[in-house]
Symmetry: C2
Subunit: 346 residues, 2 copies
Amino acid sequence: MAEPVAHGTDERFKPATLKDVALLAGVSIATVSKALNGREHVRAETRVRVQHAAEKLNFSPNVLAQGLLAGRTGTVGLLTSDLDGRFSIPVMMGAEDAFGSGSTSVFLCDARGDSIREQHHLRALLSRRVDGLIIVGDTTNPRETLGHDIPVPVVYAYAPSIDPRDVSVVSDNVGAGQIAADHLVECGRRRIAYISGDVNYRAAVERVEGASRALSAHGLELVGGEALYGAWSEGWGRGAVRTLLARHPDIDAILCGSDQIARGALDALREAGRDVPGDIAVMGHDNWEQIAAQSRPPLSTIDMNLEQVGRKAAHLLFAAIDGAVKPGVHSIATRLVTRGSTALAD
Amino acid sequence: MAEPVAHGTDERFKPATLKDVALLAGVSIATVSKALNGREHVRAETRVRVQHAAEKLNFSPNVLAQGLLAGRTGTVGLLTSDLDGRFSIPVMMGAEDAFGSGSTSVFLCDARGDSIREQHHLRALLSRRVDGLIIVGDTTNPRETLGHDIPVPVVYAYAPSIDPRDVSVVSDNVGAGQIAADHLVECGRRRIAYISGDVNYRAAVERVEGASRALSAHGLELVGGEALYGAWSEGWGRGAVRTLLARHPDIDAILCGSDQIARGALDALREAGRDVPGDIAVMGHDNWEQIAAQSRPPLSTIDMNLEQVGRKAAHLLFAAIDGAVKPGVHSIATRLVTRGSTALAD
DNA sequence: CTGAAAGCGCTTACAG
DNA sequence: CTGAAAGCGCTTACAG
């Protein structure tokens, strides 16, 4: 039985090159290139012989060399500030999916919210001659631009660039608030309170804005006249519910700025002996599966379609690589997901 | 004011090359190369002149061309089957961190658990002449090997390869169970029950095994003689607690196979009127921040040090690229994280 | 239909 | 100390 030996640099054979294939097939490397790339002016018989030789040698073309010639590498950089985040990951998945199913490979760089590290990665990516860049933010708040002296197209995803001349893709948070409020009204609710998250997040404010706008359209307004802002936590959700029940015991729905807040709200309502959805309906935002599906009752919420944000960013980047693209902020529609917490009482 | 025009392929200037720098500095491209790379045999004065020219042209060497010469690209492939997962992401973060802070760039590929897609990505990665590969699994269960006719070194992370001739890095799940049980015993608990997850997961079984072993060392055993296996969900945690309280009302601690299960257990205990940690201590596994820190009380748990798993995988890959590496499974120690749910009753 | 040659951007012996 | 030449692996006009 052979000793299990790990590969070392020395023993490892180099991959076959055009030259090797040419030698084996008994033709020139130019002919091999043409035969393998489906170019015309190659005799069918020759082409087959070359293909056999290539297969036998397990030949796969060196994409670096091709890229050097073509002036295009077929690579893009995905520069995130937060590999950790629940929100940036789905955006990256969408982008990876859009690129990876084609012949574009993506370089992953995590700047960890540090602009020094971002510059480092940016330089490395440009040295590798990526064809374009996607910048994935860690919050919905606008971020500073990378500038306009970068020699390749750039698309900002999730967090838009603060500079309107850049191309950005975001979820439609105003629309999300509207959809949520409309759903509650359709479920027959009229006394709707809003427990929002951290007021410093644009998403928090925009979702409230959308909800208020939708209620106005129905001749309604938020209970208490405005949303309660706090933190993106279950604790805040629980606390806010207690406040709310004391001040407005007759509410029939609570719209929350996030699923985590909603989860806290559900727990506090249950502990206060209020029935959901019979007595009070509850909704969240984000469609964080692990939270929303596991709450009691399961939570109706808004899916921000983050994978779509990533896919759209990828497509815009392709377009920009191929030519000009209209700058500005592209907004992706969100989607209602109904679960038990807003079930109709029929 | 200038019209905001997005870059198109045509108008975009090509990055400067050695030739451009040579022209500007009035020397040959060979001299530029030597000057910029700190090679000797260049007059100090000349070197400075070249450096100035390079700066002026914003020159950054084309790493593709360098790689073509060197036979090394300074890139690695990170092939995951599950970009979605709470567990694979931290592993990837660790690997990205270890590579990215050096001069290695990482290609991200998500196979989405599909072996066709995995083969597709594998081929693409090899065409790009990556120097090595890290395969990140989606569960702790061993996965099939990629084989041994791959021309670059491969390291498996999180999910080990089923083939002992491969190099794998995993968290020490047996050790995790031991640490958890030891902690409960140190907190003065003696009647410890175990609510595990899905029995088909190796991690579930190994954690139980570690806990049982640690208890034996203290002359104890699990309440009921064995662990309760179920699902990785809060619902299972709640249900199992009810069963447990009915059968063994005198337990003083519950060790759970995951934080999610523990979260369910905590909720059920509260609703049954049992005090945690006064009456019963509760522990989880995974240190899933969002769950563990937000439970009532906050949850003591075991951190699986997944970033370390990723970092270790990166270092092993480096070693393998530079020469031979001892095959086998490398196990990363886990770490106790104490919060309120096991606070000492003093 | 086939192949020799030039060239993508770089580095490295080797002459001068 | 400096530069002309060869070569990494490929593709693309251009001769034959």
